[in-house]
């Protein structure tokens, strides 16, 4: 473990530092757009904050955390040193340079384009080049994950790849596919426009290419949480994983179905017809399957643990679970938020029903709840499991870990549930301030304030989280080595090649992407749409 300890810690600290800064910004934003902060801040400051908050949460927290956790899994689950340590460190520093190149233009007001950066709104070229560097660094990580698994398979012929690593590599392969969309958009459209090489941009094509990345990226974020569900949580609860096979099936289904569904983010866009939109709605229904399978498999795994601890009857096992363990608590809270968030997602993907909520606060509520809620709470749980093993020190008290998790859950629910309601009322998103004197918006004020209250609780939780990790660098208690990974009820001796590798599945991804995105992208080449003039935000 030692060779990658510092690597994991470095990545994770960058991730969580970005997270804390973004949490502060998010809280400020909520204050400013509520009646309480109605005359605070200019639109320029507000949207600068939204850009920084989105970039930090969606690109920095996630990418760095996932890379760090991946290195951790590659060493601990495969029980071998990480290959290519020099490559890994080089990628880390490249990503750091990328982060600085992204953040500085934002701070200087030259990149107020939000984390989605839809052209023709165009930022300083440094912003985009910084993003490219972060993405390229993540590609190095992908390569190292694939190499680590490949080398292990060569040393262990015929054996099933440990599930945690199988999930990690499925995520890495999926990420390589995912980033193609945004990379093509940046390299061929946005960066040439930003540096002034072209004066116009095909907006419809840019939006379509970004949508390729935009949905799959949320699965990139989510899969580490699912890796924890399958490989860490059953052990933490004191039981077994109900089915290792279903874990593999889940990761494969995510690899295959996360990508050809991006168009459900373009449901209200005029550049695509009903046919392609409906096909992608159908495929979106398929991508709900791995989540539904996971809910069952992990609940069954928890049932095993609860019954082993003496739980009786239909539901007695629930109370019998060791809820005092942070990982178990986080899982329970994550599943509750997954329920609400999933409900929102079901509405969002509902073809015509998307019109009811598109670009309203419902959408903001949905992704804060499902990502900020279910996924990030599992990032906390993973951090609480990784840190003692990386620092050699144990948490002095689990009470504060549990408090931090509860605060996150309560804050997230209080923040996002009112937003769902406001979205149904028609409250639209990405707004610096509302005119609360207007009769329609006046009624929204109290709910916006309530939601802001939730945000304050989240900020408190974020501060406590940082403190909980910090303490582990100072404590004197030496860690008692605890096993981390779960065993399945039926530990696999051999698995079919299709559940031990990704060759076949890559072919399926290609076929599905051609089917789902082939024509939607080709149409921009066959019948070019009139382009729009580049609109430089950096001039302001």
């Amino acid at each position: 473990m030692r060779n990658a300890d510092r690597l994991c810690l470095a990545h994770s600290w960058v991730a969580f530092a970005a997270f804390l800064a973004a949490a502060v910004l998010g809280t400020w934003q909520m204050w400013v757009r509520s009646p309480l902060g109605a005359h605070v801040g200019t639109p320029g400051q507000y949207f600068m904050s939204v850009t920084a908050h989105g970039v930090a949460m969606a690109y920095v927290l996630t990418t760095f955390f996932i890379m760090g956790f991946g290195y951790f899994v590659a060493v601990t689950a495969l029980n071998r040193p990480l290959p290519g340590l020099l490559w890994a460190w080089s990628a880390f520093w490249m990503a750091i340079v990328g982060v600085l190149m992204v953040l500085l233009p934002i701070a200087m007001g030259q990149a107020t384009v939000l984390f989605t950066f839809y052209p023709p709104l165009t930022a300083s070229p440094w912003f985009y080049i910084g993003l490219v560097l972060i993405v390229v660094a993540s590609w190095v990580w992908c390569g190292l994950m694939i190499v680590a698994m490949w080398e292990w398979k060569r040393e262990n012929p015929g054996k099933p790849v440990p599930l945690a690593m199988f999930g990690t590599v499925s995520n890495a392969v999926m990420w390589l596919w995912t980033t193609v969309g945004v990379a093509v958009e940046l390299i061929f459209q946005v960066i040439p426009a930003a540096i002034g090489y072209v004066q116009t941009v095909d907006v419809g094509l840019a939006r379509t290419l970004f949508s390729w990345t935009l949905h799959a990226i949320v699965y990139f974020w989510l899969i580490p949480a699912y890796i924890a569900f399958y490989t860490i949580v059953p052990r933490a609860a004191g039981g077994r994983l109900y089915s290792d096979t279903m874990g593999r099936v889940t990761f494969i289904l995510f690899l295959v179905y996360s990508l050809p569904v991006g168009m459900h983010h373009l449901m209200m866009d005029p550049e695509h017809g009903n046919g392609t939109k409906f096909i992608q709605v159908l495929l979106t229904a398929f991508v709900s399957v791995p989540t539904l399978l996971t809910i069952f498999t992990i609940t069954a795994s928890l049932e095993i643990a609860g019954r082993l601890r003496g739980g009786r009857g239909l539901f007695g096992w629930i109370a019998a679970l060791p809820w005092d363990r942070p990982t178990v608590l986080a899982t329970g809270l994550a599943f509750v938020m997954l329920g609400f968030g999933g409900f929102g997602g079901l509405i969002n993907m509902g073809y015509g029903m998307n019109a009811m909520i598109h670009n309203t606060s419902w959408v903001t509520a949905h992704f804060h709840l499902i990502f900020g809620g279910s996924v990030v709470i599992m990032y906390f749980a993973i951090a609480y499991e990784m840190w003692p093993r990386l620092t050699g020190r144990e948490h002095p008290s689990r009470g504060l870990l549990r408090l931090q998790l509860w605060l996150w859950f309560i804050g997230m629910m209080v923040m996002t549930l009112p937003w769902h309601w406001l979205g149904l009322q028609g409250q639209w998103r990405r707004v610096a301030n509302f005119n609360y004197a207007d009769p329609i918006t006046a009624g929204w004020g109290p709910l916006v304030i309530l939601s802001f209250g939730g945000g304050l609780v989240l900020l408190l939780s974020a501060l406590l989280f940082t403190r909980n990790l910090f303490v582990l660098h100072r404590g004197t208690i030496v860690v008692i080595a605890r096993p981390l990974y779960a065993l399945a009820v039926h530990p696999p001796q051999r698995v079919p090649a299709a559940l031990n590798g990704f060759g076949l599945w890559n072919v399926l991804v290609l076929v599905l992407m051609l089917f789902a995105y082939g024509y939607p992208i080709a149409q921009f080449i066959i019948t070019p749409s009139p382009s729009a003039i580049v609109h430089r935000m950096s001039a302001q």
Binding site: A77, E303, I304, M353, P483
Partner: protein, 65 residues
């Protein structure tokens, strides 16, 4: 955790110690009934909630095409 310490996942004894096979077999007679009911109810509630929004909010807002 040092480099020469084996991964916990590799150690059957370490992990298997916590779960006695006899008790596991006993428990597996009932599992996944509780999980099925809990998860099934949750998903059913989700679908009912979806239908409620569909009928009570979406459709009344009128056609759009």
């Amino acid at each position: 955790m040092s480099l020469d310490e084996p991964s916990a996942a590799a150690s059957r004894v370490e992990v298997a110690n916590d779960v006695d096979e006899e008790s596991l077999a006993e428990v597996m007679r009932v599992v996944p009934l509780g999980a099925g009911v809990l998860a099934g109810s949750a998903v059913a509630l989700l679908v009912l909630g979806y239908l409620a929004i569909y009928l009570l909010v979406f459709l009344p807002r009128g056609t759009v095409g």
